[in-house]
Symmetry: C2
Subunit: 167 residues, 2 copies
């Protein structure tokens, strides 16, 4: 993600780079979520991924707003962290014999994605506030709350059925 | 991490693989934390990394206990997710002009590591319980609580001084 290059001199540079990082992550997730929905066998889980896909598309739009509000060009930077996490999440080859075990594995992979986003939004919101950009922080906060809700929903599905049946 | 290979047929296989994944992550972190402590400029942050290094060494030992309790050989598997996250965290080349901005960047990178561990321990604990291994779940819970505390400490440091000064 180039967080630690010489290009980063100020908190503003750091904010801009982190924004490019999460923008890349959200765009990658727009591609990954339909595949995860395809592979999931539990209907509630499948539907959950499709709902979160719609939310994720909104997150991309909100990030584009933040770029513009803060006078930055809309840009994504490669990020090895999210690539690694999504690589694991996408690697669900359907080879797991038991459907419930497969769903449990997909949920774990999706939660790793959510937690990555939660931590990145947490930093971004703090930095936006320090930069006096409460307007940007508010938009980022909306994305954060939806990521947290998605993570909680995955935990609920896992606890209510998938893990129970897979044990 | 090989989570979705044909080798994974049961919840027990999934648990074993996830355990190998987090074992790899903790061992990588034992190598990464001293470097992060070196690069941090805030004394409290520096000390925080060194304290967490000691905790992380204990996490490795607890994981080895869990492997043995559950009749598994102690083994690590490569995991592109944590490699990507630590690659970002280690990439702090000291080129950032402003020390406070550097610390803010290091904290964000460290929190991404903590959140990865938090989500993995969350899944592992749920699966251990479903497998009737409350003894394993208890040990994993100890690691989880320390990761959560480390994450909170990083947030506190960021909010109390680093972000404030860097703005």
């Amino acid at each position: 993600m180039g967080l630690f290059t010489k290009d980063i001199k100020t908190m503003n540079d750091l904010f801009a780079h982190q924004l490019q990082d999460i923008y890349y992550a959200e765009k990658q997730l727009v591609k990954a979520l339909p595949e995860m929905a395809d592979k999931a066998t539990d209907p509630q889980l499948k539907q959950g991924f499709l709902t979160h896909l719609q939310e994720t598309k909104t997150h991309v739009q909100r990030l584009e707003q933040v770029f513009k509000m803060h006078g930055l060009s809309v840009k994504a930077v490669d990020c090895p962290a999210i690539d690694g996490i999504i690589e694991e999440a996408e690697d669900v080859a359907g080879d797991v014999a038991d459907d419930q075990v497969l769903d449990a594995a997909i949920i774990a992979a999706a939660q790793a994605v959510e937690h990555y986003e939660i931590t990145r939004y947490g930093s971004l919101i703090a930095w936006a506030k320090r930069l006096g950009r409460n307007d940007c922080a508010n938009l980022l906060e909306q994305n954060l709350q939806e990521e947290k809700a998605a993570d909680k929903k995955l935990t609920d599905i896992a606890e209510s059925k998938v893990n129970l049946r897979a044990a």
